[in-house]
């Protein structure tokens, strides 16, 4: 009310001088705002059409460039096709086909003519005959089941049916019908005759057209086998398809394989091909063919796409990135803060394999990842860092040992319980009660037997795993007998100075720390005098070193002059550090230990311990029992270095040669302080702190755990948990605040995150420096980036439970023992040996170890396991190769456990798709006549088998180039043997075994190099005869042949 009252009346108001309504205008702001509005609209429209849909532009570009490339390609394709179809070979084939077809025409016409006569006849007779046959059979059935009284009349009926007569109108060739009358028997005969005739005609036709059918098949595959890309017609088809190309989001959808996270599974939606439009094109598109734009190129590895169909697997499960995003490159590639799985950089593509292929040690199509895994284990990363799959043996050993202890306890309890039950039964009031309790006691006794069985099995397993446990570095308990004292501190202060390629890393220790660690290592060593060795012949040693195969793992020569493998140490300066007597023993048998170690007593067992029990001081895999209790000892050096079965003399020669590998001016300052016990005490703490026992066996540290971070899922650690230290800000600014940035820098300089920090010496980062090359860093980073918590459902992981699982497991062993350094496992794989200077002369290539491609199909698996256990194939004559005595390179004894041997056998059989267990089917024995023929063939001068194959005579065996036939019955599979002697070239291209020994003649193989009189009348397969002969070959037979 008051307001109303206060309001001045209109006429009371003063009239403003400038009335805004009449004097001022909003035109300008309105104009500005409408312009802004229009701009926003344009912007929105742009975004709607292009800005947020960059793929529209990409797809249009793609169509244009692709069309252009196809048009350019067309004449080339046409030219290639024309060249193929116009080639003499094709013309000849075509002509041959025509000729073949013409040649058989008359014969075919004849057959057709006969069929034209036969066909209607057969048709005419079939129905009456089959009707009659069913009647006769029905009558027979009635007769069989009838009672005696009606039999006579039924017999009569049957007789009538048999007699007929049946009249059939048989069509004659001229078209007329001739009425014929048959009894049932005659009709059956006629029918069968016609049927046989028809079969004959069909067989003749098949036989006749066989050559032309074969030719037609060849002709059809001729072009497809020679075309390097699509045909002209296909290019045409692609162009038509491009004309109808629809610009739209290209999407792969699969609900089965999407990421699995805490909140369940999201379906896979990958729209990557909306921009990467050329990925799956049938034509291989390179950036060059696509106008220099890599965006439109095809997938770089088609084979991978064939294995992993993109319709099922999409793109992001392997590559990472955000498959749903279509608004921009950054978003689609997932390179922004809120996306947990950014695209793997090109250098680390292989990382994507790991989340499904965790169980694979070797992936044919992921070389970077393979190299990363190899480096990880070879450089001893697993010494400090637990990583699933790597070095599983110690854990396995602990669990087996624990199971044994548990079972023993259980056994004790059951035994006590049995005793209690029996004594209760003894005192039972009634017989029934006693009986019941005695039964119970019996059951418990059986229980004990059961436990004993398990214990036996576990003990075998324990011994097995003990053999399998290896350490990356040498056993430092032997340090006093093995090394020169003054060398130790020099080595520890900087191993790369002494040996640039060593796997021993450089710890960041000051001089005092180096001395302390050296002192502890020295004083913790075993004090034993090794037997003194006389000196050997270094020249002979050099020859042995170069020829026996040492260089497959070791290298010699410095820097660019180094030759050999990288699996084990470079031995260029080994003479400066080693003790000769120890080196001789090591070369003679690297598995030999000075003292066995008892994991139960947790100390080395001495000769006195053995003596105290009245036992001889003897320990090896066959004598691994602890003298002080019922448990196993570690009786071998935990090294992968195999035993080359050299004689003591040869070992001395090699050691003498190696002792000469030293710098002439090598001088090491005295290191008396190594005997200072106070220093050793400090050193002990440092040895623990830096985790030396991760790679070395060290007294007092046998049960030391790993000191590093578990790396199994390191790749999916949230970025906040990777500590970039004071470099965090810089990393964010420079764009490397991500896992790759962390790994790359940490591997290059393990102390990098300490930069600028004030820390106590022992608080600093401990990881030592490995002097990795940028390529090695790249490989390790790939492995680490791929080590993730898999977000792919386990159904899609590669975890086969058939033969392929054996292949997966086998590769771990092949890598563990470096088998690939000497042997080829897949075609095209290079070995270390074949690249050595020694094997460059074509003649010396015969001296290379055998390729193992197809080994599972070649040898009897039972023999293979015997061979792997003892490659000398002899208990006494061990300084030789069991199969190929003429090879100077030695197949060493790896000291494999039974489990490892079985695994390798299964691996080879699975690679060759051979089922296990294998039952050998010995070929039929020869008749005496056949034996004579086989002998003649075997020793025929046109095929002098024994000229190349070893015969057990040491003088001639050195020059032989193939194994002894005595091995055949046990070693080979007979089916393989036949394939081999007939076609060695197809099994092993370039083999010394010549092809063309047999030629095919009427479905069998006959000797092709000479006319052997005694075989002229032999109608069976000659190759088969040879195989049967070889499978009954004996030493007696060999003597008989060689003494001729």
């Amino acid at each position: 009310m008051s307001i109303l009252r206060k309001r001045p009346r209109l006429e009371d108001r003063p009239v403003p001088e400038k009335d805004p309504i009449t004097t001022s205008s909003l035109a300008t702001p309105i104009a500005i705002f409408s312009l802004l509005l229009i701009l926003t609209l344009v912007w929105a429209l742009y975004d709607e059409i292009l800005g947020l849909r960059p793929w529209i532009g990409y797809q249009r570009d793609f169509v244009k460039t692709y069309q252009k490339a196809l048009v350019e390609m067309k004449p080339v394709r046409a030219q290639e096709e024309a060249a193929i179809y116009g080639s003499n070979e094709y013309q000849e084939l075509e002509q041959a086909l025509q000729e073949a077809e013409t040649a058989i025409k008359p014969a075919l016409a004849e057959i057709e003519q006969e069929e034209r006569i036969l066909g209607p006849k057969l048709t005419a007779i079939t129905k009456p005959f089959t009707t009659a046959r069913s009647r006769v059979q029905a009558a027979i059935y009635l007769l069989e089941t009838a009672n005696e009284s009606s039999k006579a009349s039924l017999e009569e009926d049957l007789q009538k049916l048999r007699e007929g007569p049946y009249t059939v109108e048989i069509p004659e060739p001229d078209g007329s019908l001739v009425e014929k009358s048959y009894s049932y028997g005659e009709m059956e005969e006629e029918f069968n005759a016609l049927k046989v005739k028809q079969g004959e005609l069909q067989a003749r036709t098949v036989e006749l057209v066989r050559p032309s059918t074969q030719l037609r098949r060849e002709l059809n595959t001729f072009a497809s086998a020679r075309l390097t890309s699509v045909t002209e017609a296909q290019v045409e088809g692609l162009l038509t398809r491009l004309d109808n190309f629809r610009v739209e989001i290209k999407q792969i959808y699969n609900a089965d394989i999407g990421r699995v996270a805490a909140n369940g599974q999201t379906p896979l939606v990958d729209r990557c091909e909306s921009c990467h439009a050329g990925v799956r094109e049938p034509v291989i598109l390179t950036p060059e063919t696509m106008g220099g734009n890599p965006l439109f190129a095809s997938h770089s590895n088609r084979e991978l796409l064939t294995i992993h169909d993109p319709e099922t697997f999409g793109c992001t499960p392997c590559h990472n990135g955000n498959g749903v995003a279509t608004v921009g490159v950054k978003e689609g590639h997932g390179n922004y803060k809120h996306w947990l799985w950014p695209l793997y950089p090109k250098a680390h593509f292989d990382a994507g394999c790991l989340q499904c292929h965790e169980a694979d040690r070797h992936l044919e199509l992921a070389p970077t990842l393979n190299a990363g895994k190899q480096l990880f284990s070879q450089r001893g990363c697993q010494g400090c860092h637990p990583r699933e799959g790597f070095e599983p043996e110690p854990r396995l050993l602990r669990s087996v040992q624990k199971s044994i202890l548990d079972l023993r306890l259980e056994r004790n309890e059951v035994e006590q319980e049995t005793q209690r039950t029996i004594s209760t039964a003894d005192r039972a009031e009634t017989n029934e009660e006693a009986d019941r309790l005695y039964n119970q006691a019996d059951a418990l006794t059986l229980n004990i037997a059961d436990i004993d069985t398990q214990l036996d099995r576990l003990t075998v397993r324990e011994a097995d795993v003990m053999l399998e446990v290896k350490k990356v570095g040498p056993n430092l308990k032997e340090v006093k007998t093995k090394l020169k004292k003054e060398w130790i501190p020099v080595w520890i202060s900087n191993p790369h100075d002494f040996r640039p390629t060593t796997k021993m890393p450089r710890f960041r220790l000051d001089e005092q720390q180096v001395q302390a660690v050296s002192a502890y290592i020295w004083q913790s060593g075993i004090d034993v005098e090794l037997p003194q060795q006389s000196s050997g012949d270094p020249q002979q040693g050099e020859i042995l070193f170069e020829t026996r195969g040492c260089l497959a793992c070791h290298s010699i020569g410095e820097e660019s002059g180094a030759t050999g493998g990288t699996f084990a140490a470079n031995l260029s300066r080994v003479g400066e550090k080693a003790n000769y007597d120890y080196l001789v023993r090591w070369i003679h048998n690297p598995k030999e230990r000075t003292l066995p170690y008892c994991p139960i007593h947790q100390r080395d067992i001495t000769p006195e311990d053995y003596a105290s029990q009245g036992l001889p001081f003897q320990f090896d895999p066959q004598h691994a029992q602890c003298p002080l209790g019922d448990h196993l000892l570690q009786v071998q050096q935990p090294t992968v270095m195999p035993n080359l079965r050299l004689s003591w003399d040869e070992s001395r020669d090699v050691a003498s040669y190696l002792m000469m590998q030293a710098h002439e001016d090598a001088a090491y300052p005295d290191a008396e302080y190594l005997d200072d016990s106070n220093l050793a005490k400090q050193g002990q703490a440092l040895v623990k702190h830096f985790g030396c026992a991760g790679c070395h066996e060290i007294s007092g540290f046998e049960n030391e755990g790993k000191i590093g971070t578990d790396l199994t899922k390191e790749g999916s650690k949230p970025i906040e948990r990777l500590d970039f230290g004071l470099l965090t800000t810089q990393a964010k600014q420079e764009g490397w605040y991500n896992a790759k940035g962390f790994f790359d820098r940490k591997l290059a300089d393990p102390s990098v995150w300490d930069q600028g920090k004030v820390k106590e010496p022992l608080e600093r980062l401990r990881m030592p420096n490995h002097e990795l090359s940028s390529e090695e860093i790249n490989q390790l980073t790939t492995f680490l980036l791929g080590s993730v918590e898999s977000v792919i459902p386990t159904t899609h992981h590669y975890a086969p439970d058939d033969d392929r699982e054996e292949i997966q497991k086998g590769w771990w062993l092949v890598a563990k023992y470096n088998c690939m350094a000497c042997h080829q496992f897949s075609p095209g794989q290079e070995t270390v040996l074949e690249n050595l200077p020694l094997y460059q002369d074509p003649d010396s290539r015969d001296q290379l170890p055998p390729s193992l491609v197809g080994e599972g199909a070649r040898v009897n698996p039972n023999w293979l396991s015997r061979f792997l256990r003892n490659p000398a194939l002899s208990e006494t004559d061990t300084n030789r190769n069991g199969v190929r005595p003429y090879l100077k390179a030695r197949m060493p004894s790896f000291g494999l456990s039974d489990g490892e041997i079985q695994q390798l056998v299964r691996f080879f059989n699975a690679l060759s798709k051979q089922p296990l267990p294998y039952t050998a089917v010995p070929p039929d024995p020869l008749s005496s006549q056949e034996l004579t023929m086989a002998r003649e063939l075997f020793t025929h001068q046109a095929a002098p088998c024994l000229r190349c194959h070893a015969t057990g005579d040491a003088a001639t065996d050195a020059d032989s180039s193939a194994p002894n036939f005595l091995l055949v019955p046990e070693r080979l599979r007979s089916d393989w043997t036949k394939r081999w002697i007939v076609h060695p070239e197809t099994i092993r291209p370039g083999t010394n075994m010549p092809s063309g020994l047999f030629r095919q003649q009427d479905q069998r193989w006959v000797f092709g190099l000479a006319d052997v009189p005694s075989l002229r009348s032999y109608t069976k397969d000659h190759a088969e005869l040879m195989v049967r002969y070889m499978f009954q070959y004996t030493a007696g037979e060999q003597r008989r042949l060689t003494s001729r």
Binding site: G57, D61, K64, E72, M73, P75, V76, Q79, E80, A83, T228, E288, T289, G291, N293, P842, D843, R845, Q941, A942, A943, P944, R947, C948, D959, S961, P984, E985, P989, G990, T991, N992, M993, P994, S995, G996, L997, G1008, L1009, A1010
Partner: protein
């Protein structure tokens, strides 16, 4: 931005292609070279109307090394053929102080030409358990007819680095023809049955090669004029090379020398 560039680039390309006839013809060969597959090099047969030739000699300085004696006792039928001691052919120094079995070929300078593959095969005989000739030159793809004039079975086992390896038995009197598609200086050939047998096959892309004979000389004819690198190869002493210039209708003489 990139799109803009691509657009401009395409525009430019359209203008270039749609422009005058001259520009178009300039673009055409480039397109063709992209289109061409490596198997069809754009080269032609040389013009031989003014061809020249090169002759020469490979001399040997120093004392001729003593060759190991070959013991053929294992194959009496071969041993009989020789009627005297047989020596390895690793180094054969002729009476006039020249070196036999040296392979000579034009290593560089022929790349722009293409050559027909001769239809006549080269012959490699096995006679008296030795290969004849000891060093054989062939063109790529040219047939090599292998004969066995012995009564013994041989196996022919070439050990190439760039071609495919094979190993085939050949009985007395049999023959076969094979070829090597890729250039290689040289492919060692051996017989696993008779380890002393050794021969070398040189596979070259053109017909300009020769092997020194009993007088240590060689001759290469019908060469198109031009500048060339000529190389000699010997199984024991390795390779040497020299530059030569062939003038029209003229002959060049050239000397090589190996020292023992």
């Amino acid at each position: 931005m990139a799109k803009l560039y691509i657009g401009l680039f395409l525009l430019g390309l359209t203008v270039a292609c749609g422009g005058g006839g001259e520009t178009a013809s300039e673009v055409a060969p480039e397109a063709e070279s992209i289109a061409a597959t490596p198997e069809t090099p754009q080269s032609s047969a040389p013009d031989l109307s003014q061809s020249g030739s090169v002759t020469g000699r490979v001399s040997f300085e120093g004392e001729a090394p003593k060759m190991a004696r070959i013991r053929m006792g294992a194959e009496p039928s071969c041993e009989e053929k020789h009627g005297g001691p047989i020596y390895s052919q690793d180094v054969v120094v002729n009476d006039n102080g020249t070196l036999k079995n040296v392979f000579i070929w034009i290593k560089e300078g022929m790349d722009q030409y293409s050559f027909e593959t001769p239809s006549d095969p080269a012959v490699l005989d096995q006679d008296g358990c030795l290969y004849t000739p000891h060093v054989l030159g062939v063109q790529m793809g040219q047939g090599i007819q292998m004969l066995n004039s012995d009564q013994a079975t041989h196996n022919i086992h070439p050990v190439p680095a760039n071609n495919r390896e094979w190993n085939i038995s050949q009985a007395a009197g049999q023959e076969m023809t094979r070829s090597f598609p890729r250039q290689e200086i040289t492919i060692p050939v051996k017989c696993n049955i008779h380890p002393w047998m050794k021969s070398y096959i040189a596979v070259v892309p053109h017909p300009y090669f020769s092997v020194t004979s009993d007088d240590g000389t060689f001759e290469i004819n019908n060469m198109p004029p031009g500048d060339y690198t000529i190389e000699v190869w010997h199984e024991t002493y390795g390779t040497q090379e020299q530059q030569i210039k062939i003038d029209p209708n003229s002959s060049q003489n050239i000397e090589f020398s190996y020292s023992g």
